[in-house]
């Protein structure tokens, strides 16, 4: 190379040709660059769509999102009432929060400029602090790109035609692979735990199932539910109604997963071995329980674990209460219930069967023998239909009908059954009648979508050939010459919107009388309690209002020594609420008797 390189000296000067060209830069703030359509800028959250599940907070690997309560904003029913707050000093705008948001309410916007001297002002509650962000949404997740798994693993079931041939269990249960796959959809937000009356540790046991630790799952489940296999089959599962995944997909099959886990323990001995309960030394205190239904059994189980001497008095030959005598065997087989009750007895709970309090033993006697008495007496009686002719032969209460069938009695319903009502008892009675070979029609006052029964039960009934006549109000039962049911006369109804904002009311249309042939009519319009076993001296202290015992938050009645739970106390009238009552009562009784 020569000392002076002419080309090498002049070439760089060609840069001068760039003079006068438009520069790359823009003169901010006169001009600002609009972000791309997919830009990941500051967060926006649609507060009304958000359910406060906290999945955004969980996935955030910078711990930039926490869930806070916004003053004056309580959220909808079933959500946590909390909303995400983003620390923009920590956020890295990876948008994983957006990808996992089950509702799709959280998104990122084109907005990317924020300057402040106040470090605390970098804590933003998206949606509240930037309501205008809705117009600038740029990075969002649709159902296609979301990382949530919205589709439920289908539950294998018997075909409708097969089902009506016998009382064989309809739902066949998940196998191991199906259970693992279903459990792995859970995001562990815990909204389910909040809404469960018994606050079962749902995310924990689902995690255990997903990780393949079925035994752990069983132990976690037995932590606060001694009848989990029953719940795994027939629970009303409010948990699934609030499941975060259900916002845009199908809820986790929480009930089926519990069923799967508990069914891995095939016998009560296996349950005992897996749960390996720690039974405290006997403390010499005694508890008497009236009724071996879910609430009584729950109180009994957890009190026995705490070292109490527990005795249950049960009027029937079998324990389980309404779950034994009210629920048909194709939903809850007798072996399953027996297994769970055997296990409860195996830890020392004594059950006196066929002992009706008030007849075989007086309530006063029980009251005097035991340190504390718990009443889980349920609703043994059903409301009659209350229309003209309901005294006819063949007109019965569905609840009574189910009791007789479950107790092994034979009931002749003929070949045309009309069930009046829209709850689970109505559907149960209808499906049982189908299994007895009858043509079944359900007559319901409102629309099908208004039925309080479980939608899966309604679908199941339709699959089995049950006809549903919605918007029909029965007015009369016609008898034949022998006094037997011949037909049901009903009026068609139209739905009138409620001015007070309630659900639409059915109003009968005059002159729309229709007659339905029937050999049996079953009323499934509700049950009621029977408190005749209580002596007068108790009814003064133990208050009964609107057909139910009045209790405090500890399930304690007006008599401090007497506790109550189950259908005779709570209005929800389902098994899990009864279990919750029993568990609460157990804790209160333990506190009272141990003096802690």
């Amino acid at each position: 190379m020569s000392f002076f390189d002419l080309k090498g000296t002049l070439k760089p000067l060609t840069a001068l040709k760039q003079f006068g060209k438009k520069p790359h830069t823009i003169s901010y703030p006169k001009v600002s660059k609009e972000a791309a359509d997919r830009y990941r800028g500051l967060h926006f959250n649609d507060l009304d769509e958000c359910i406060g599940c906290g999945n955004c907070s969980t996935i955030c690997q910078n711990a930039a999102i926490d869930m806070i309560h916004i003053e004056g904003y309580d959220g909808k029913k079933g959500d946590s009432g909390l909303r995400p707050r983003v620390d923009n000093g920590r956020c890295c705008w990876c948008a994983l929060c957006v990808e996992v948001c089950p509702t799709g309410s959280l998104s990122l916007t084109k907005d990317y400029l924020y300057v402040s001297e106040d470090p605390d002002s970098f804590l933003w509650t998206p949606g509240k602090d930037n309501p205008e962000g809705k117009k600038q949404i740029s990075f969002f997740s649709t159902e296609e790109v979301s990382l949530n798994m919205f589709d439920r693993v289908p539950m294998p079931e018997l075909e409708g035609k097969e089902r009506v041939k016998s009382f064989a269990e309809v739902v066949l249960g998940y196998n191991e692979a199906e259970a693992r796959a279903e459990a792995s959809r859970c995001i562990s937000c815990g909204l389910c735990t909040e809404v469960c009356p018994e606050h079962m540790h749902i995310p924990e046991y689902i995690n255990a199932i997903a990780a393949g630790n079925d035994k752990d799952a069983v132990r976690i489940i037995y932590d606060n539910n001694p009848l989990p296999e029953m719940c795994g089959k027939v629970c009303t599962r409010r948990c699934e109604d609030v499941c975060a995944i259900a916002s845009r997909g199908e809820a986790l099959a929480i009930r089926w997963l519990k069923r799967y886990a508990t069914e891995t323990a095939v016998t009560s001995e296996m349950t005992h071995e897996i749960v390996n309960p720690e039974i405290r030394e006997a403390n010499g205190k005694t508890v008497g329980i009236v009724g071996a239904g879910p609430s009584g059994l729950t109180a009994a189980y957890y009190l026995a674990l705490r070292g109490y001497d527990v005795t249950i008095y049960e009027a029937n030959a079998k324990a389980g209460g309404a779950t034994m005598y009210g629920i048909p065997k194709y939903r809850l087989p007798i072996e399953s219930l027996d297994k769970q009750i055997d296990y409860i007895q195996s830890i020392g709970v004594k059950i006196n069967f066929n002992t009706k309090v008030g007849k075989d033993i007086s309530f006063k006697e029980i009251y005097n023998i035991y340190d504390v008495v718990f009443m889980g007496v349920g609703f043994p009686d059903a409301w009659p239909l209350g229309v003209d002719g309901d005294d006819a032969e063949g007109s019965m209460q569905a609840f009574r009908f189910l009791y007789m069938i479950n107790a092994g009695d034979k009931v002749d319903v003929g070949d045309k059954v009309v069930v009046v009502g829209g709850g689970n008892v109505a559907i149960d009675a209808a499906r049982v009648s189908r299994r007895l070979g009858a043509d079944v029609t359900i007559l319901y006052r409102r629309r099908v979508q208004d039925m309080p029964a479980d939608w899966e039960e309604i679908e199941g009934a339709e699959d089995e050939g049950v006809h549903i006549i919605p918007q029909g109000i029965p007015i009369k039962i016609h008898k034949d010459e022998k006094g037997h049911v011949k037909s049901v006369e009903y009026l068609k109804a139209e739905m009138v919107p409620d001015d007070k904002g309630g659900r639409p009311r059915p109003v009968a249309i005059e002159g729309s009388n229709t007659v339905l042939e029937a050999t049996a009519v079953m009323a499934a319009i509700g049950q009621m309690g029977d408190y005749s076993f209580l002596e007068e001296e108790f009814t003064e202290k133990i208050k009964i209002e609107r057909g139910r015992f009045v209790v405090n938050e500890k399930q304690q009645t007006g008599d401090p020594k007497v506790f109550a739970g189950g259908d005779a106390v709570n209005r929800t009238a389902d098994a899990i609420s009864a279990i919750a009552d029993g568990f609460r009562a157990c804790k209160a009784i333990d506190e009272m008797l141990s003096g802690k």
Binding site: A36, I59, C94, A183, R185
Partner: protein
Amino acid sequence: MEKKFLILQKNTQDKMREKATTLYIGPQHPGITGNMMVKVQVEGDTIVKARTEVGYLHRAFEKLQERRNWLQSFTLLCRFCVPEPDPVEESYARAVELLEGREVPERAKYIRVLMLELARIGSYMLWYGGQNGSLGLYTMGQWSVGDRNYILDLFEELTGGRVYHMYIWPGGVRRDLPEGFADKVLRTMDYLEKRLKDYDDLMFDNTIFQKRTQDVGIISKEKAVEWGVVGPVLRGSGIKSDIRIDDPYEVYDKLDFIVPTHEGGDIWSRALVRRQEIRQSIRIIRQVIEQMPSGEYFNRIPNPHKWALPKGDAYARTEATRGEVGMYIVSDGGVHPRRIHFRGAAYVHGITLLEDLLIGENVADISAIMNSLGTCPPEIER
């Protein structure tokens, strides 16, 4: 008197020789490579000893992964290297896919190559700035970093982020190409191709650049192999080695490109290699756009909270602008990585090699040499 002075002068020179002056280069971004320090002892202008000191950027990324799940990891791993995060994302995604046996849709593979090559060009654009800036030639840096913004614009449109893309994840890529994106890429490539000519005028034809880089920081072929040098640095020493050819991943085996090499082993040769690689990347991108099939872009991963990888380990390596980067992942069968280890080229280049290479060089060339080695302190420390 004169004799006395001569003796005094000799003594002073001896003393200076014994006690060479110590200089601290850094830790404030010596020649835009990041926060690290080179402690050099100089005699006059000549370096006699060099010690690198790192520790200013340690963020325990590898350790942090043990508390992240397999999905969360990918948003942190890309931070190993600021100018070019995509090869890290890609190697992690591929390692996870290898361990899990997860198939990746063909389209996703093409999109990944598109990303990687755009990132390569973007990273070299930044290198243009660094390499020239370290020699006091600032105009070049302004041009190339300005042009790099057109690539960042593409990234923004495709991924939603300009620098950290967090786009290549296990199973494919996060989103499909937006409408009209391919045309924009091609237009940008045409523009950059034209600009390369301007760069040549300003840089490679510039006497200053030539004189400052030729025969400076020489790594011989033997030494390069001995020290485990990789990437453009190795190719600048005359050894043809490129993971894209030697161990093709994604769809590189379906693409036609060459791997440029130069024999010199000095900064100049390494610069030439990079310069030619940009042209090859443009060539690759055009082929990718042409060949890209339609279809799925993501083989959906399960719920990230419950996503467990089978027990075992996997290693995936990718050709970055610094050379081979590799991701070693170990799973104990759980939802969190048991261990994630990253093999970065910068560790070899920026610590061990640099210390040796600087001896005998002029103190003014430290930054230029560091830049030519692709030293990336965030990658060294992780």
